[in-house]
Symmetry: C4
């Protein structure tokens, strides 16, 4: 089923604020939280979407016929496409009754694994969410990435320990969640972390042979700090506009960050990526892979696990089509010169 | 009859998706295919139209009085204006019951010939479309251009052979159609072509004394490959946004391509050209002539062959008016300095 | 009465197409001619208006207190403000029954003279329009400018001869009207003029001691040709978008033209000027004075001669206010450095 | 109570023209004066708001955990946040019956003092407004800034004399009010002031040990004149678009002015600042503190003194959040490099 049809079926089931729009561009949900809206004026999510559209791809079909290979090596595993399902927390609060965090994570982890890629799971106040995600990821042979929030260091250590039990593809920390009120309400207050603190988390992961990813990097300087901390990858992300208003679109900061990193770690990106053309743009601007979040929630509400699988398959197909139309046989062929400037 | 009136008469006859708008700017049809919409987000057709509008022409009427000569030498023939009717395929599927491919081609070929220019015909799964177009073009003394899709090479050879029978003005291949699903469904799968393969098609045409045109060039690099393949002309085209989303507008890439070609072959362009002022802009940006597609379908639905003739006459008249108001007596006078920058 | 109120009173009296909008910005009338709309897509009038808005003025009130002097020396006379009423032809056809060309010209000539400035009169197929305008201008002591269209040279000579009888402030030719169909329908066809032809018209005026103005200059090259022809002034004008679609806004081309002219003749401008702030912008960009057209028609319909006087007084008051707020005591003080960049 | 809720409660109580919008962005009130609208086209207020939005902040949470310190030293006092309540005059005329100038000033002075900052009071035809404000400010230990209009010098001297009686944080003059009709109607007409005249006002203040602020500076040149006059601070302000149409947004001119001042006096700014993110942007562009005006009126109507306190507390909290998310522990840490460019 096409995304458009999945969205149509999801309409009415996604809670009071998500309208399951044909194109998830941040307009209808606006600034309302709870719900999938963005913080403050609600405009960051809208800009995230638009900033990809502004990059135009270079069509060129005079070349040998070949089917595009969309597969990616990441952390020693092969993904069938450079797209992962991004983490979503508090699903019930934002999207209504159909899923809770546990059932949603199960749905997307299974769908992603079936499509040869992985889903990322979210974190929440209750430790059981991580525990449950760990179980499912373990049952899928480690096909998943667990995201841990920047709690106080002892809580982080404990949750990372649990998560490592699944031998997941990677452990991530969404460091951009530092300002969330429930983190600052802890005793001692949690939130931002130093390079040294993050180095300890990286070390804990590495000892278990698991890569560590820092999610929520929006500057070249932040990326270099992540590198110093020993992160194996970063996600260029503004948390979909939900942690701070007024930040740039991820497509705006990605090129500068990728250049600063210069291949020394993997660069992932999320925010407003909705189609295979958007994925192509992200790769051409220096990303190794993309995360897609909100539309997956819609696909899950519209078609369950199969809906998520269909959407991932659609993204792969659109990406392959774009690669073939622009003359890229493999992901390594996709470069900045394939964008119009 | 003016285009505005033709569109009014066409309204209600152009199928479920074309709204026969007063100005065909890609907004009302949006992303719906079948129908005249564009692929993905549907925004490429809209951008095609807008990108011409952004170029402003330099009015200057202090000059000798002269009526503008809009005639063009192309491939050894004289056209009365630098505008040709672009190819449209699968007319019934996209625009409803009034025309099929055969009757539509007949209508536009006759209208264009009567107005001293030519129409381009489309190609489809059934070989009979090419055969029928060949008959009509032959009966018009070769007044037409047949477009062949990038099928497997043996199919191309066969269809080009048929088309050459009409001694048409040229044979074209819409190489940007490479990604269409029905081409990839062939055995072996068809689609993109190498310079060597295209050189063979060019050779087959040249042996029959017929020029060969590559349609669907969007980069300077692609244009140089077309030149290497022996093409006599290219059409800067993104297929009206129907083969790949997220590509630039043709008006954006035309100047760079024309500069790269540097007069070594003819440069044609299509995409969002709706008025004689737009034709003038295209010439000033380096094109030798333009193709107009969607509005011709509307004109045909609104007034049949006479409607298409009227629209072509209107374009010629608007172009002549613009030339006279900007100080160009002949097409050769129209240059980049006649645009404001 | 404020313009806003005049427009309110005019509503319903200005024919089928003019909506007498609170701000005359070219949107409501669009592309409809007859009516006050613009040619083709109808967007030039809209751009004319917007282009002034994009220039921002530099507020600075730390300066000696002084009331601004808005008076201007032009062609040896003193105008009380650097704004003249621009010519409008075929008033009845475009704005309905309330005025015809004769009564409209009488209204605006009298109003402008009463306010210490002048109105420009239009020209039409019937020679009586010029004759009538000449009478009124003569009765006002020459307070007016007569605009003659670029007819065949003998017709021009004759009409200029008639117009000179009024000893008007100046004679103008709207050379941008060259493409109007009724001019090309003459025998021999009329329209664009060479520098030599225009020099003859200038000579005829100068022999009578009357300055000659070329209206409809949109390029530096055109301005230099006007200078060569002996013109005493030009009007940077695109005829409100009514003679050619796709041209730049006058505010866009004015700075380059003023620079090319370098003070060797007067530079006037029209197109989308609606307020005293707009007049200030025009002066700061190099104009000596501005012409205002469409809103005067609305003011005349809303309040007759008094309405036009009120609107001119409002423009003078707004201009004086802007000058005082930006630190200009006289028009000579208004310069490019008073705009933000 | 959040601002959004305060606005909801205020709706219907704020007179005929203020709509108490969820975000006060100048659109709904437009060009209507009386009422909170802006002058002329009414677009300056809209641009003021938008210009802040165009600056994007650099999220970076890899840093030591620390709660942001939002306190500011200004004129020898400590403010709990770099935001003051801006002056509003003629409250009843613009916002209806709920407040008059005296009760409004009392409300905001008390609220600001309770929140550890100060409110600025306006001035009007009746001298009693200044007298009343002086009383309240004196009762609050000088917690307030009195704004005196640029009356004739003897009136200024008298009112400043009254105002100094409160030992206020500072005395300000809104020099951009120079063009208001009731000032020019005085005998002799009042309005703009020279550097020498302003130096006398500064001297009068300094003799009483009170700093003097010039409000309504929009150019670097104006700022240097304020410095020459001995002003201790300026407010970069266009009076919310109410004194002159067509001026730049304050966010556009702030960086150039701050650079010209180079720390030699304090730089304050107002115009469209609505959130803590906007305050952060203002500081990053070179301001020492910001004034917020229209939303405070709404907050006062929605929740009285408590409403104003809540809104100030919200601004402080949003600013602290933004500082923490961007890595600024104190206001001194907020710099241009924290904005994306």
């Amino acid at each position: 089923m096409l995304y458009r049809e999945l969205a149509e079926r999801a309409r009415g089931k996604t809670g009071a604020w998500c309208k399951a729009c044909p194109v998830c561009d941040g307009r209808a949900c606006g600034a309302h939280v709870p719900g999938p809206g963005a913080k403050g004026t609600g405009t960051v999510a809208v800009r995230n979407y638009q900033a990809w559209e502004e990059w135009r791809v270079n069509l060129d079909t005079i070349r040998p016929y070949a089917e595009a290979d969309t597969s990616l090596e990441l952390f020693g595993r092969t993904l069938s496409l450079p797209v992962m399902v991004g983490p979503v927390g508090d699903v019930r609060r934002h999207y209504g009754e159909l899923f809770d965090d546990v059932s949603y994570n199960r749905c997307v982890l299974s769908a992603a694994a079936a499509q040869g890629t992985v889903a990322w799971t979210g974190d929440g106040l209750e430790g059981s969410i991580v525990a449950n995600a760990t179980q499912v990821i373990a049952s899928l042979g480690g096909c998943g990435v667990e995201t841990i929030k920047p709690w106080a260091m002892d809580v982080v250590r404990e949750r990372v320990g649990v998560a490592l039990g699944a031998h997941p593809l990677a452990i991530a920390m969404d460091i951009d969640a530092a300002g969330l009120p429930f983190l600052k309400g802890q005793n001692p207050p949690a939130g931002s972390k130093t390079v040294d603190q993050l180095a300890k988390v990286a070390e804990q992961c590495h000892e278990a042979g698991t890569p560590f990813v820092l999610k929520g990097i929006m500057t070249a300087r932040g990326a270099l700090k992540a590198l110093d901390a020993g992160a194996d990858a970063i996600v260029v992300s503004n948390h979909g506009g939900r942690v701070l208003d007024g930040v740039p679109a991820t497509a705006e900061v990605l090129p500068g960050i990728a250049e600063a990193v210069a291949g020394r770690m993997s660069v992932l990106v999320d925010g407003g990526i909705r189609s295979g053309v958007d994925v192509f743009r992200a790769l051409a601007l220096g990303a190794d892979a993309a995360l897609v979040c909100r539309p997956v929630v819609v696909a899950a509400h519209g078609g369950g696990q199969q809906g998520v699988e269909d959407y991932l398959a659609q993204l792969r197909s659109e990406l392959a089509d774009t690669m073939e139309m622009c003359g890229a046989a493999t992901l390594a062929d996709v470069g900045r010169e394939m964008l119009f400037s």
